[in-house]
């Protein structure tokens, strides 16, 4: 047999039907649903009189539109309250296990799957959310899908999909202090651009990737879509198996051994080739930050914001000029020392326990600058419990940060957690699009370390000066 990449292996393992002139019908091992992109899919099922084919491969959670304040208070926003109530009703009616706002396991959809051991190597995973690639950290092929496809998968457990190109992102070398997974992926996107991976699935390889924890790998895979890729994954290894062992939905006993032997066949074969490749030297990276209105507009924290006048293509030049105008930033200067109004630590990119530990390490013994509002939003109720068991909540609160309930929060600003027009945030989330964190708000994307450092000083800060 021809040598194959892990991307091709997982794909081949899930082909249900393949006909000329028709996309491949793929079987889906795990379907995650949430309140925002599913209501119209459930309505579609009702209109056609269809059932959910495999509720046992489907799990629901409420994350996007729910408030992150005290969960005992009602949801004030009537439209959001209705959406959450309808979601719970849909899951109940169709027999789908779900975590409502009061569940002890509630959390962001891309945090709970791995946390429960539901996400496993070699799976196909889908969710009506573009950050589904997060699950690729386990060697799963994980696609973000639209609501029509949510309906297709609910009804048939299958997805029609055309084969993607394979794109190797090889990251070699050792990261320097203060530089982490978020900086690797922001660097990648700044190089290839927000559409650089269109039509592709990334496989992240190399010594720098191998040395990352599972949570760091999730941060990287999470942002594959910001480089345009359909999915992004990392071959499983002992780090993966250690993380998974003993989790509630992970295989047990003889099943675990059987699973391990199958998972060990997944990594890319020697001699397999990719359609595209990029190499990144991790040892040269510095903390990254975005200056513009898409995640590809990123720079090393000591670098200057690029000048539109230096760009030849008129449309590209105008696009950058428009971004700088929206951000109200001068070209040619670094962002260091730029004022910050809000710091958001959270989102499916950076809300796991290791992210909170990193931020807490900076906050410990320090105070939040009085001009800055800081929100720390854990990715799940279990992450929250763990953080509290370690006393991290106390560090955040003592420093003057707001310690919240789990949810997507200010990453997508649907739930009342948002920027005011004109405010600047340093955010550990994944998108700096215009208005993403609140109408007129301006976002600098960065790592939890950079976010925490900027919270303490009140200005964009190179965390290495505080280490």
């Amino acid at each position: 047999m021809q040598p194959r990449t892990i991307i091709e292996k997982v794909w081949d393992n899930h082909v249900v039907a393949e006909r000329p002139g028709t996309p491949t019908l793929l079987y889906i091992d795990l379907h995650l649903v949430h309140e925002v992109t599913s209501p119209q899919a459930f309505s579609g099922l009702r209109e056609r009189g269809l059932k959910v084919r495999r509720p046992d491969l489907t799990i629901g959670t409420t994350d996007h539109s729910i408030p992150t304040h005290d969960r005992n208070l009602p949801i004030v926003d009537k439209i959001a309250a209705n959406q959450v109530a309808q979601f719970e009703q849909n899951c109940t009616e169709f027999g789908i296990p779900f975590y409502g706002p009061h569940s002890k396991k509630q959390g962001i959809v891309h945090v709970i799957g791995p946390e429960q051991g539901l996400t496993q190597p070699g799976q196909t995973v889908v969710c009506g959310d573009s950050h589904t690639a997060t699950h690729g950290a386990f060697g799963a092929l994980a696609f973000g899908i639209g609501t029509s496809q949510v309906e297709h998968v609910l009804a048939t457990q299958c997805l029609l999909q055309s084969r993607s190109l394979t794109y190797e992102v090889r990251v070699e070398g050792t990261l320097r202090p203060g530089v982490g997974a978020k900086d690797i992926v922001l660097n990648l996107i700044s190089r290839i651009g927000i559409g650089g991976g269109n039509g592709c699935v990334f496989e992240y390889t190399g010594s720098a990737i191998r040395s990352l924890s599972m949570e760091e790998r999730m941060t990287i895979c999470n942002m594959s879509i910001e480089g345009g890729a359909r999915a992004g994954l990392i071959a499983p290894d002992d780090t993966t198996y250690h993380y998974l062992a003993g989790r509630p939905a992970a295989p047990k006993g003889a099943d675990w051994e059987k699973a391990l032997s199958l998972w060990r066949q997944l990594p890319t074969d020697a001699g397999a080739t990719y359609d595209k490749t990029i190499h990144i030297d991790a040892s040269t990276l510095e903390p990254m930050i975005t200056f513009g209105t898409n995640p590809g507009m990123g720079i090393g924290i000591t670098q200057a914001v690029p000048d539109p006048a230096s760009i030849g293509d008129p449309l590209e030049r105008d696009t950058l000029g428009k971004a700088l105008k929206y951000m109200d930033l001068p070209a040619g200067k670094t962002l260091l020392g730029h004022k910050v109004d809000v710091v958001f630590i959270g989102s499916c990119t950076n809300s796991r326990i290791s992210d909170l530990r990193a931020a807490a390490g900076v906050f410990k013994g320090r105070k939040v600058n009085p001009n800055v509002r800081v929100m720390v939003v854990p990715g799940s109720q279990l992450v929250k419990q763990q953080a509290q068991a370690e006393g991290l909540d106390k560090i955040f609160k003592d420093a003057g940060a707001d310690w919240r309930e789990a949810g997507c929060s200010m990453c997508i600003a649907m739930n009342g957690d948002q920027l005011e027009a004109g405010e600047y945030s340093v955010s550990t989330s994944n998108r700096n699009f215009e208005g993403r964190q609140g109408k007129g708000g301006r976002t600098f994307l960065a790592s939890p370390l950079t976010a925490a450092a900027s919270a303490v000083t009140g200005v964009v800060t190179d965390v290495r000066t505080l280490l």
Binding site: I79, K105, Q120, D129, C158, R431, G435
Partner: protein, 204 residues
């Protein structure tokens, strides 16, 4: 799903690269549980001021934007979130097609499922279209899905790529779910040979 037929229509130019789905339809409108009623919120934050009044300089508030059936946008249109609310908002506004030099993958897939054509043209045709509109804002294009042909205002034409299966679905007005449901035997056969499976009930 609506059948796509050949049409001639005016264009609304939006010469910006990487227009993301948060601009097409901001997330705060995603709390709806319906597909309809999103056309008024299309490009909301570019289209209306802080008081909710239309900004006169924005293309959709000009006569030519209001009359347009085709959106002419910069490269990599529809990047970002997977929200199908983006094509819902575009079609409910009245757009039947978007022309660009490239589209984000998820947006392209979502659009086809809502009979919204995503037409990829070469860079020179793209430039020519913007130039034609600068000269005559009422210029029109003709879109022929069957022939995969876009006729430009000067009468010249370019062909555009379309996934064959999506094309047949759009021409016949049938959605993909009907096709997938007919694969029941293959799905059952696949399920019979699956070796590893999670059980989400264990995690609940």
């Amino acid at each position: 799903m609506e059948k796509v037929t050949t049409f001639t229509g005016r264009l609304a130019p939006l010469p910006i690269d990487n227009i993301d789905t948060d601009q097409i339809i901001p997330a705060r409108f995603l709390k709806t549980t319906s597909k309809i009623g999103l056309g008024d919120q299309l490009f909301c934050d570019w289209r209306y001021d802080a008081e909710g009044k239309p900004k006169p300089e924005f293309i959709l508030n000009k006569a030519e934007g209001k009359a347009a059936q085709v959106l002419l946008a910069g490269d990599n249109f529809g990047c970002g979130s997977s929200r199908e609310h983006a094509p819902w908002a575009l079609t409910q506004y009245g757009f039947k097609a978007v022309i660009s030099t490239s589209f984000a993958d998820i947006f392209k897939g979502n659009s086809a499922k809502n009979s919204l054509l995503t037409i990829v043209v070469p860079a020179d045709a793209h430039k020519k279209l913007f130039a034609a509109l600068a000269a005559d804002p009422a210029a029109t294009v003709t879109v022929d899905l069957e022939q995969q042909k876009l006729t430009l205002p000067d009468g010249s034409s370019v062909t555009f790529p379309v996934d064959e299966f999506a094309k047949q679905c759009m021409l016949n007005g049938v959605d993909e779910l009907g096709y997938i449901l007919k694969q029941e035997d293959a799905i059952k056969a696949y399920e019979g040979k699956r070796t590893l499976s999670v059980n989400t009930n264990i995690a609940a």
